[in-house]
């Protein structure tokens, strides 16, 4: 019984890392006061999701979906393709966010959320 549980935990380590990273990213996005740190948190969270998709689509014995000799089988390429799209979305989001941060810095001369809130009052 004990072994089974351990195996269950270790066997799904990629999902544990995914959960951990999502939580770290979520924490940074909601609790950090510095705007750049929020963006870093956002990227951690998005990368965690990429990890989830990619590792869910990975099967150890099978090769990439390119026609080669001696292949026992091919993995589904769709998760990887989806993540390519998601990476593009993530990069654009980061770009927009950083652009807004630059403008915010030019206007407020600070990146601290509390100070910006004070200046807005």
């Amino acid at each position: 019984m004990r072994e089974l549980e351990l195996e269950w935990i270790i066997g799904k380590y990629n999902y544990w890392v995914f959960v951990l990273l999502v939580v770290i990213g979520f924490y940074a996005m909601t609790s950090k006061k510095n705007l750049i740190k929020k963006i870093i948190g956002m990227n951690i969270m998005q990368t965690a999701i990429f990890l989830f998709y990619i590792s869910a689509g990975y099967i150890k014995e099978l090769s990439a979906p390119i026609l080669v000799e001696h292949a026992t089988g091919y993995v589904n390429p769709l998760p990887q393709v989806l993540i390519l799209t998601a990476i593009v979305v993530s990069v654009s989001t980061t770009a927009v966010a950083l652009t807004i941060i630059i403008k915010i810095y030019q206007e407020y001369r600070t990146l601290d959320e509390d100070k910006i809130m004070e200046a807005n009052q």
Partner: protein
Amino acid sequence: MNTNLPVLIVIIPLMSSFIMPVVGLIRRRYCHILSFIATSAVFILAIMLIKNVTLHGTLSYHLGNWEPPWGIEYVIDNLGAYMAAIIAFIGLSISVYSKKSIEKELNKNLVFYYTLHMLLLTGLLGIVVTGDIFNLYVFLEISSLSAYALIALGEKRQALTASFKYLILGTIAASFILIGIGFLYAVTGTLNMADMSLHLEELYGSRVVHAAAVLIVVGLSIKIALFPLHSWLPNAYTHAPSTVSALIAALMSKVGAYMMIRLLYDVFTINFFIETMPVGEILSWTAAIAIIAGSISAIAQKNIKRMLAYSSISQIGYIVLGIGLANTAGLTGSLLHILNHALMKGCLFLAVGAIIYKTGIKNIGDFNGLGKKMPYTMAFFAIASLSMVGVPPLCGFFSKWYLALGSIEAGRWIFALVILSSSLLNAGYFFRVLEKAYFGEQNKIDKTIAPASMLIPMLVLAAACIVFGILVYMILPYVQYTAISLIQ
């Protein structure tokens, strides 16, 4: 031609948004013409779609000729065509309105404004035509990203912080939705929504599906600003340029509600979200709180745009209430309210934009005598606000009527009471504005009239509020049929 309709409605705004910067290089005022032509074309296509869907049933387009469920499929059913027509209509009105308003407010960024405007429409139209759940996510992000940038164009520096807050919360929401989609894909192995729904039937007991449902519903609730998750909305609507406020208030939240309907009713199906998980129950109670809380916060506001923003939070509550009730009358009310709220809020924000354009007045306290000063604009404002309160025979009355019917049908009298009391609260904050404008003391009146390009869209939207109220029986069969086909 007819077979290509579903993809053309996305391609036209997408292409025009790519061409826009080039056109802007040649001559800036051509941007306005291009945006007008593109939105008109989209509007005509949307009307053709409705006609086709009612005549021949659901339209389907296979991108790259890949058969679904492998390839991406664009599907237009009754609901999709209905939403596309709303988006196209509001998009066209705002495109006409933009000319003068943008020239004054954002002269420096005119080209960017039009580019983003078309990109936003692309995203919104894409959401309503796609039948692929991952494509849905991508279009959601296209529309959200252009909305963040559009809000950041606002004149005051608060627009930047409002936009940043929206970006952070919007990205959290999108990440939740993406994780939810990933879970669903992991258990079903398909991304086509119709196919996924078939595979999901056996998996209603699975915890992965439950987690996916929770993540998607919470993500969408942030995107549509359902009450406890609404904190990004008031600032974003207040500080955005007037046309952007109108565009986002009228369309973004409606499309979010569409996604909620599509995912809950078509992918998870009613058996799951009512019987297996109490999602409908939770949504309708949250919505009831949102309706009251939004209305009460609106009463306390001094800035007119902020008041309208809080009123939006309460109106979103109405739409979600109908979704949560999950009976024909409730869903009919919800669908009608999607249309009506788009018309009313569009008209209100455009009227406020015209008032700011001409007089610079933003506080309700300064509205004294505005009814005589800007007679036409205030008349349209009054029509839309009366409709918002739910005065028959204006359109707002009928959606509330069906929502109340749905609540009673579901045996939930308290929701009918909530709708009634919220109408009274609505009357409270709208009549305060109207009372100031028409009966407030004024010193001297110098009449000003907003430019025709601003008055005509307002006139059309205000007229639509009346027409869809009096002639509601003309669209009612279509909406009811849509609601029934969603519930089955």
